[in-house]
Symmetry: C2
Subunit: 245 residues, 2 copies
């Protein structure tokens, strides 16, 4: 099933895809609807599919070799979440900036100290995440706070897919119309269940939170004026642009 | 002026102290009230005074010598925010845990790229923050994600004080009834304006966000069963306990 957040006359409403059409739906986390459920919305304008309180990203998880390093996760500000079509903004003085196409886990419920037995029960579904990073800043700030929190530095969307094999999902990155990278989440050092067990041993997650699972070389340097499209097989395509701040 | 969030029959409501009494008030960020404004609340139960989307902490900012190091800020999960009287929870297997009494800036509006000229305009007021840290984890995780995000690891409160000189506020830390540290924010390497200019050059802040300004040696190791009280002159006292998870 696909779940989106869309802009309607009521503001932001959740929606579901039913027989190829989008219909307004209850909030998948609270069960509460913002408007009348079941209204068909033609040409929906998609927003970031969640408003997370926590966005975590896995560091050095992009290749099988990374398995020899202890897992680590960094935090991005919840205010970096952006929707499909929104532009990533930065001042070129910040140095090199890359886009990173990643599978993003959408957490469905409160979760702490998950186990291999119950980790996947905490997942509502998956969306596409772009973990935009100002890489030159990492040398200046070991916490990565300076590299990860530019304006709209975490595009998410276009919707949540609840039915997906997260451990073998193909990610394609297109910049300015050309395919620049294509890889599978099979390459990730730690799989989705292992990531959730690790992360929730240290951080409490809750409904709508996002875990960016790591970048299996699906990254590329970008400049103001560029466009990106990240596609994950079984989900869809998240597109946006790069703009000078 | 003092602004609090209190538990009422309507759930959480904002309140103001007027002539020594607490009265329900509008949300200081949105102007919207959760109930009838001006109701007097006897014996209010104070909650964390904000529900932040972003909590940032200043690293190595506790002493004048730290001024020789470039500033750095780490992020704590918004879900670590806890109210007065709530217990900090951890499993002793996490290693040493300290409480850190700090002045916490409450951000009043959207803020990015603040300047020395306008930085203080973004401040709604100040509260007391306890930046609980599992210090042994820092050696294992350079991002400090593992050390900073235990359950209720950021007690905040008891209220917001809008009238305070943040650059000379005395902080007293009491553990199990004994004063274990007392220092002024005068000792901080960078003052509040400098902190806000630095932080917002990299991270967007918004209404209700919290910046923990750094710990001028107002810290102490704690164990399950301990209690803490952090007092800041001109604000009040934030109290809580430590509990084994």
């Amino acid at each position: 099933m696909r779940i989106a957040r869309i802009e309607t006359e009521n503001g932001a409403e959740f929606a579901r895809e039913i027989d190829g059409e989008w219909q307004t739906a209850q909030d998948p986390f609270t069960g509460v609807a913002s408007g009348l459920v079941g209204r068909r919305i033609a040409n929906p304008r998609f927003l970031a599919p969640v408003e997370p309180r926590v966005i975590l990203g896995m560091a050095h998880n992009g290749s099988p070799e990374n398995r020899s390093i202890a897992p680590q996760a960094f935090m991005k500000s919840a205010r970096t979440a952006a929707g499909p079509g929104e532009n990533v903004l930065f001042d070129p003085a910040i140095g090199r900036v890359i886009v990173e196409g990643e599978l993003a886990v959408v957490v469905g419920r409160n979760a702490r100290n998950l186990t291999p037995h119950n980790a996947m029960d905490a997942v509502l579904g998956y969306t596409i995440g772009n973990d935009v990073t100002a890489t030159d800043q990492n040398a200046l700030d070991s916490f990565w706070t300076q590299s990860k929190n530019g304006v709209n530095f975490t595009p998410l969307g276009p919707w949540i897919e609840t039915d997906l094999d997260p451990d073998d999902a193909s990610i394609q990155l297109v910049v300015n119309g050309s395919t620049v990278a294509e890889e599978s989440t099979k390459r990730l050092a730690r799989n989705i269940s292992e990531i959730l067990v690790y992360v929730t041993s240290h951080v409490t997650l809750g409904p709508g939170d996002i875990v960016l699972t790591g970048c299996p070389d699906t990254l590329y340097q970008v400049h103001p004026g560029d466009s990106f499209e990240i596609s994950i097989a079984g989900i869809g395509t998240l597109a946006g642009g790069i703009e000078s701040a």
